[in-house]
Amino acid sequence: MADKERVSSSESLRSTRTFGKVRCHNPSCMGRITPPPGSKQITCPTCGMTYRLFWVTPELPRIRGPVWDVNRKLAQETLAKKLETPDSDSK
């Protein structure tokens, strides 16, 4: 019944798997960042969010969590700005 040579959508998407990179967690950014192998920390060049890294394997980094002092400051500055113009971002 099945055509064994046929490639399904999910199989065809395997080529989109990118190893060695993480993505900035800021929604408008989501840029792919390539941390130096084994590095412990990375800063997004676009928005400044700074992350601690964990290497699941030598090819597979993952964002472990924020560098709290940096990201918290960014968050509080943004919040202060948005509170000044509260209706600008309700979507």
Partner: protein
């Protein structure tokens, strides 16, 4: 053959047992597992029945592919009318129970009636016996399982049991199997307790003939490579599901202090990596385990290192326990999270629901809606680890006024507590949200608002929406097997195209639940994982049944509509804050205050949300009240339900 597995009807009042084959045409229409359960529930539960009454059928099942030569077919599905929501009760668990039940000859059990004293079912190679459970009553979930093995003198017996929470009719008690596999949501352990049914024990050595064994074996290898090759599953295999909590907390999608914040700051001690270190310290480097036939091995093993429960072995915690005992009550101790996880596993209670309930009570306490009079002196402030764990005990054993009230579930508790307590209850259809905060992600908000079993992420969450996938990739995934030419957006803070994504995911999750496989093996957390196009081969090689991707989609849609029909029959209306497709007002009124800069200030736009609901209904062929139209029912062959064919 998987197809010769039977259905058994067991009446606990009369002791009658009837065993029937499952007709092939029913397989084609409802596949098996959750889909077939939905058919059985709609047909066997009398309209308006009391969830704790004898007429509420408790339906236990494996899927079409359970224990065949397919990957990760471990899932057990359980269905009944929910004592928590009064609507659809449905839960799904991993482990080894459903495969053993299939080797014992059964795919579905329909358990009705109520035993006059505690009993358990013993199901062995086609035979079913109702046995006395007097000596098991009062035992926790694991002790019950080991005692059953002792009594039956067989270490390979697998049991689905309730702990003390189910016996005490906590409305969100779980069914449990193994150390920590839980059918957690909607309180079906409470239904078991009400039936005086302590356990269902199974053991089987009957062949499941594979239709095309050589092809099935080869295809399984290919399938597993596709699954374990995905980054997300490699991370799961190392860190387990806590990685999801960690990632979500990083950008601000974790609800904290009930719903006051969307991120738990400085939560390093309970980060996935910290939990992994803890597990490694206590169980060694190879501390991950898994369910039947699965190579993802997403579950950690650990031993508690200090405190009252020092030396206790357990498994997990899943990300839900990080929410329940971490961010929601704002407790940052790893010991608290792991102890809380241990307690819920032993009592057999839904971690997600109990954590939410306690966090809600904490907010009410800080607001003065609850006082030390109701808490009987317990200082129920956020961040009080001791109070949190004490409340777990109190709820599961129904101790004290508050423990007893909270054990009834959110909506009844809100009525008893009074004032405006309900406004702070983060629930949909009477079931609390998991630990996530969807204010920045409208697609995910739509998912929890419309999920058939109440607020829930495992029914239709388009989780890959968070990955900002390029539009062509989204289109490739979401336009098959049914063409979709409407808008799609990579932007996960947008409202565009999300109703279709949620609709598509709803069908994909129903399909995996019908097949009996795990959601980590489909498009849930990974975009490149198998879906409709990949399943016909697996089904054919293993069972000989031929399905096209579109036929699987249609069956899934059919089953989802049956769940909808059940909910409508039991009182769901679109805008009912307690039984509708709605969200707590805080989603619309309170902006996010923490997290990534682009998340701050986000809240759900009420008008756009309503438009999403309209569109979502339209994709289904439902009217503006969310009721399937006559044409839709005809298209799906549901116009004559209930038909009582099984």
């Amino acid at each position: 053959m998987a197809l010769d597995r039977k259905i058994a009807y067991i009446n606990l009042t009369t002791g009658d047992v009837e065993i029937k084959p499952i007709p092939l045409e029913m397989r084609k229409k409802f596949i098996g597992g959750r889909g077939m359960d939905a058919y059985l529930l709609y047909n066997h539960a009398p309209e308006g029945c009391d969830p704790l009454g004898p007429e509420n059928p408790l339906i236990v099942s494996g899927g079409l592919l359970t224990a065949t030569c397919a990957s990760a077919t471990a899932r057990t599905h359980v269905m009944a009318k929910s004592p928590l929501t009064g609507l659809l009760g449905s839960c799904n668990m991993g482990g080894f129970f459903a495969p053993e039940m299939a080797w014992a000859g059964f795919h579905h059990l329909v358990i009705t009636g109520r035993a006059d004293k505690p009993v358990y079912l013993w199901i062995h190679n086609g035979e079913i016996e109702i046995r006395d459970a007097g000596r098991l009553w009062g035992k926790n979930s694991t002790d019950t399982q080991w005692a059953i093995r002792d009594e039956l003198d067989d270490e390979e017996v697998k049991s689905m049991v309730i702990g003390q929470a189910g016996e005490n009719l906590v409305t969100y008690a779980c069914v449990m199997t193994g150390i920590k596999n839980a059918g957690g949501r909607t309180g079906l352990g409470c239904v078991m307790g009400a039936k005086n049914l302590k356990a269902v024990a199974v053991r089987g050595t009957m062949d499941i003939k594979i239709a095309h064994p050589v092809d099935a074996l080869e295809h399984n290898k290919k399938f597993i490579d596709q699954i374990t090759g995905a980054k997300v599953n490699q991370i799961q295999g190392a860190l387990g599901t806590p990685f999801i909590w960690g990632a979500t907390n990083c950008w601000g999608g974790v609800r904290t202090r009930n719903f006051q914040y969307n991120q738990m700051e400085y939560a390093d001690e309970i980060e996935p990596e910290a939990i992994d270190d803890y597990a490694a310290e206590t169980m060694g480097p190879h501390h991950m385990t898994g369910c039947f036939g699965c190579q993802v091995h997403c579950r950690a093993q650990y031993k508690i290192q200090s405190g009252l429960y020092k030396g206790k072995y357990d498994e997990g915690p899943e990300y839900t326990s990080l929410g329940a005992f971490g961010a929601e009550p704002d407790c940052k101790s790893i010991e608290t999270v792991l102890t809380g996880n241990h307690l819920v596993n032993q009592y057999g209670v839904d971690n997600l629901e109990i954590g939410s309930m306690i966090a809600w009570a904490m907010e009410l306490y800080e607001l003065g809606i609850l006082t030390s009079k109701e808490t009987e002196g317990l200082d129920l402030r956020f961040g009080n680890d001791e109070a949190l764990l004490q409340m777990v005990h109190n709820i599961c054993t129904r101790t004290g006024w508050l423990g007893n009230v909270l054990a009834d579930g959110g909506i009844p508790a809100a009525e008893k507590i009074g004032k405006n307590a309900f406004d702070y209850l983060i629930q949909v259809k009477g079931m609390n949200n998991l630990h996530s905060d969807e204010r920045a992600t409208p697609g995910l908000a739509l998912n929890i608002a419309t999920a058939s079993r109440g607020s829930d992420h495992l029914r239709s969450r388009p989780a890959i929406d968070l990955y900002h996938l390029p539009e062509p990739v989204l289109r490739k995934i979401y336009s098959s097997p049914v063409p979709y030419e409407g808008p799609l957006s990579s932007e996960h803070t947008e409202y565009i195209g999300k109703p279709w994504q949620v609709f598509w995911q709803e069908n994909v999750y129903m399909a995996v639940d019908c097949l009996g496989i795990c959601k980590y093996h489909t498009v849930f957390l990974g975009a490149t994982l198998p879906n409709f196009e990949d399943w016909p081969e697996v089904i054919y090689y293993n069972t000989g049944l031929e399905f096209t991707p579109k036929e699987i989609w249609d069956a899934a849609e059919r089953c989802n509509n049956l769940e909808r029909l059940f909910n409508l029959r039991e009182g769901l209306t679109r805008n009912d804050p307690k039984k509708g497709d709605t969200l707590n007002h805080r989603y619309f009124d309170e902006p996010c205050r923490r997290g990534a800069p682009d998340v701050i200030g986000k809240r759900i736009d009420r008008d756009k949300f309503n438009v999403m609901i309209d569109e979502f209904y339209e994709h289904h062929g439902w009217d503006q009240d969310g009721v399937p139209t006559t044409e839709t029912l005809k298209r799906l062959g549901l116009e004559k339900e209930p038909t009582r064919l099984l």
